[in-house]
């Protein structure tokens, strides 16, 4: 088990190096347009001394491999550099935004778990019923709807068309901004629904197919032959088997959401990591972009590891690092 863990952590190193190196190459002069000094100073005219000073300060005169080595060195110390635009350490910026992203991600995951799993179970247990048909239909539609479009439509519906019924004032719980009329959690509802939409549909579909598969297994017949009720057969014997792939999907999804949902956060102006990365791209704020991407890579890798480890808990047939016996 420990051996497996160490091996998995070591595997993260090449992934990590690959991602950072790619970003550094994109930054090399001539690959993407733009003068780094200009990105830092903006449109103001600057003197040659100031320019030289900035080049010196940010180490822009050094060769790219050298800059990369320095960056990695700082990273080991937990320093992701200074934002060009905000003159603040990138680590501080991300630490500021991260709690908002976590809050939104957790809300979305809760929706995903409750709605997705319930719909999946109902449509499997009542296969070909009206509920099943509606679930299949609605999940197909949800999967096909782009997140940004869904977000904007929800804003249009609740913020403008239904304005009279949803509060009357301009500030509606459609953005991350605090308002006078709604408690803080209410602002999470629409972004969370938007963020959860596609995944909820996938969870419902995976749950349905897994549940159907589990219900067709021989051990279900054994459980029925014991005299267990249909309910006990479904919840005790089919559920745990059917949940294994669903947990995987939800786990990985949580990792992705933790890293910041760029589309959803941008549309709802949600002050999370995703929105920060979006702004950093627009402003060519390389240190923030680099830091954000490194953060995403970390979050996804760690959650993937946790998901893999959770298999061993759910499925006794899987034991890492050595045979079962």
């Amino acid at each position: 088990m420990l051996k497996y863990l160490i091996r998995r952590v070591l595997q993260m190193i090449p992934v990590f190096l690959g991602v950072t190196m790619l970003l550094f190459v994109l930054r090399a002069p001539g690959v993407l347009p733009g003068d780094p000094v200009r990105m830092i100073t903006g449109e103001r005219a600057i003197s040659d001394t100031l320019r030289a000073q900035i080049v010196e300060e940010y180490g822009l005169d050094r060769s790219l491999p050298e800059q990369y080595a320095i960056y990695l060195g700082n990273l080991m110390k937990g320093d992701l550099g200074q934002s060009f635009q905000k003159s603040r350490p990138v680590v501080d910026i991300l630490a500021d935004k991260f709690p908002n992203t976590v809050r939104l991600a957790l809300a979305a995951i809760v929706i995903e778990i409750i709605m997705g799993i319930t719909a999946g179970i109902i449509s499997a247990v009542k296969q070909y019923s009206l509920a099943d048909v509606l679930t299949t239909l609605s999940t197909s539609i949800l999967v096909a709807i782009p997140v940004f479009w869904l977000g904007m439509m929800l804003q249009l519906l609740f913020g403008i068309l239904l304005k009279r019924w949803t509060g009357g004032a301009f500030y509606l719980p459609i953005s991350g901004m605090e308002s006078y009329q709604f408690p803080a959690w209410a602002h999470m509802i629409l972004p969370a629904i938007t963020l959860a939409s596609v995944s909820t549909a996938y969870v419902a579909r995976i749950m349905r197919s897994q549940m159907l598969e589990a219900l067709g297994q021989d051990y279900i017949r054994t459980a029925e032959a014991k005299g267990l009720s249909r309910r006990a057969v479904i919840w005790r014997h089919a559920m745990k088997n059917a949940m294994i792939p669903v947990v995987t999907f939800i786990g990985i999804d949580l990792g992705v959401m933790m890293a910041g949902a760029i589309l959803t956060e941008t549309i709802f102006n949600w002050p999370g990591v995703g929105l920060e990365i979006f702004h950093a791209i627009g402003q060519r704020d390389w240190p923030v972009l680099m830091g954000g991407v490194i953060f995403i890579v970390f979050a996804v890798m760690i959650v993937n590891l946790l998901v893999d480890l959770s298999y061993a808990v759910l499925d006794p047939r899987i034991r890492y690092g050595g045979a079962a016996e």
Binding site: R221, T222, E224, A225, K226, G227, S229, H237
Partner: protein, 339 residues
């Protein structure tokens, strides 16, 4: 001896897109306490469906049991029971073990927990008490180090051990009837013998009546009191084991016996297969369902459906010629060795 189970004119049909599958079509038998009935036939002859009908585990969406059919357990009709009463019988008074032990245990629960589950359900035991009892049961079916093995998961058990665990599970509530649906088919030969010996030993100890479903006559030679031979959803022969093995009446039974490997004759003896395939249960042949494969079939067999007629005391056959004393194959003998 009292009659435990009586099956009257059991008809279980499945309504499929291709037509009505007459999986079981008019089966009658009864089972006395402590007795063993072997149900023998090829795949698709209706053996398993008969068993599942008794357990009332036929899928309700497609399977229909005939209105004039009845199954009486201790004189009470199982088919007219509500679901709750049926569940209190299922697993408690009538238990069942299945063909493939590799897939019949739930992979995500410990074996001991699965064995004890019906005790919690039917006998009101606490989980801990059921776990204790499960260890005793696993020990009874010959699992070594039962206490430790009860904490294992099914994938840590071999096929033979899993079937032992299935037997322990089925016998947990000390049922009146154990239905064993081809319990040894998925196991290799040495393990088959062990499992059969175990079942015989346990039956002597617990007095459970057994319905043994198999396609292998050799399996039942030692343990059955009565044998019922099925073909295309119908009974073709019914009698004591001795009658059916040593004085078989129906040509299909002859065929089954002749296709068994025998170790009392020379190695050069040739196995005689039954030619052809079992019929489609949607389009059962007119007349005797076995006539297309029967080497003795006459014109009349193509048109007249034979009914199960008592030929000798307690020995019946569904062949139009069974009444004829000259229509016998006395040289047919089973391979079943007496241990």
């Amino acid at each position: 001896m009292s009659t435990l189970l009586e099956v009257r004119n059991l008809k279980t049909h499945f309504h499929t897109r291709d037509g009505v599958v007459k999986a079981v079509d008019g089966v009658n038998f009864s089972l006395e306490a402590g007795q063993t009935l072997a149900v023998v036939g090829e795949s698709g002859s209706g053996k398993s469906v008969t068993a599942l009908s008794i357990m009332r585990l036929i899928p309700e969406s497609t399977g229909v049991i005939g209105a004039d059919s009845d199954i009486l357990f201790k004189g009470e009709s199982i088919l007219s029971m509500d679901d709750v009463s049926m569940r209190s019988i299922r697993g408690d008074r009538i238990a069942m073990i299945f063909q493939d032990p590799m897939t019949s245990l739930n992979p995500v629960y410990r074996v001991g927990r699965q064995v004890g589950e019906s005790l919690v359900l039917h006998k009101g035991l606490k989980k801990k008490e059921a776990d204790e009892r499960a260890v005793e049961l696993l020990d009874m079916v010959g699992i070594p180090h039962a206490r430790e093995r009860a904490r294992d998961y099914p994938h840590q058990f071999s096929g033979g051990m899993r079937q032992r665990a299935m037997i322990a599970m089925a016998l947990a509530c000390d049922p009146d009837i154990l239905i064993a649906d081809e319990p040894t088919t998925a196991l290799d030969v040495t393990i088959q013998a062990q499992i059969l010996e175990l079942m015989i030993a346990l039956q002597e100890r617990t007095g459970t009546a057994i319905i043994m479903i198999t396609h292998d006559l050799g399996v039942v030679a030692d343990m059955a009191n009565d044998v019922m031979v099925m073909y295309a959803g119908k009974q073709v022969e019914y009698g004591t084991a001795e009658d059916v093995f040593y004085r078989p009446l129906h040509p299909y039974t002859w065929g089954l016996l002749e296709s068994l490997p025998r170790h009392d004759v020379s190695d050069k003896g040739v196995l005689v297969p039954i030619t052809g395939q079992p019929p489609s249960l949607i389009n059962v042949p007119d007349g005797c369902a076995f006539h297309p494969r029967c080497p003795y079939a006459k014109e009349i067999c193509h048109t007249t459906v034979p009914s199960l007629e008592s030929i000798e005391d307690g020995h019946s056959s569904a062949c139009l010629f069974s009444q004829d004393p000259s229509f016998r194959r006395d040289e047919v003998s089973p391979s079943g060795e007496v241990a």
